[in-house]
Assembly symmetry: C2
DNA sequence: CAGCATCCTCAACGATACTG
DNA sequence: CAGTATCGTTGAGGATGCTG
């Protein structure tokens, strides 16, 4: 993990820096049950631009939360999946999701 | 709750918008077991400026995650605490914290 | 298909000083 | 004590077009 954590004042700060940002939570979440290709991710994470998708995937990879697997084929094929560390995050992203769902209804 | 959620593509997105930002997680966390005054929060959330503290507290209050209680005394006294909705978030902020702690050690 | 390269905007965050 | 008020910065994110 070579990603620049600017300076975490505590573990909460640190964790939020690693899965904060506009798309990281969503990307980890859609990867929860398997492998997805770049284009599939692009469709799954509605509204993301190629630039942000690539950039976010790189950060997640540098943070060792996901793995990038390249198949040497034509046309190109790249699959992304969670690492064990990334999988550990799924339960509470799920909790957050439930919480968010409930909130969206009651507001 | 009148806070502007720009446009949530999904519940994960929505949840991250409400507790994202640089200090929200930390503030909710330090409020987990009771009431804290403005000055106590300022000391607990190391590195935060008065401006950011005030601003973040206002957002959390507008989001109905915390409650602001003013005592009409001299000198002034204001206490902040979690709402029930805010308390629901504590368990998984705790999980994130544990995860973050473990990560900080192994890196 | 899976990206990269540029340019640009804006709002989150910061520093500092002041106040009821 | 518990905030406001200004001003300044910067980098995350967006738009668009191009490529191996």
């Amino acid at each position: 993990m070579k990603n620049k954590i600017k300076k975490a004042h505590c573990a909460v700060d640190y964790a939020f820096q690693r899965i904060g940002g506009k798309y990281k939570g969503r990307i980890l979440w859609v990867l929860r049950d398997g492998f997805l290709r770049y284009g599939e991710l692009k469709r799954a994470v509605v509204g993301i631009t190629p630039k942000m998708l690539t950039q976010t995937l790189k950060e997640l990879e540098a943070d060792e939360l996901i793995v990038r697997k390249v198949y040497l084929e034509v046309p190109p094929k790249v699959e992304y999946s969670l690492t064990d560390t990334g999988k550990e995050l799924i339960p509470f992203i799920g909790q957050m999701r439930s919480w968010g769902e409930k909130q969206m209804l009651t507001n």
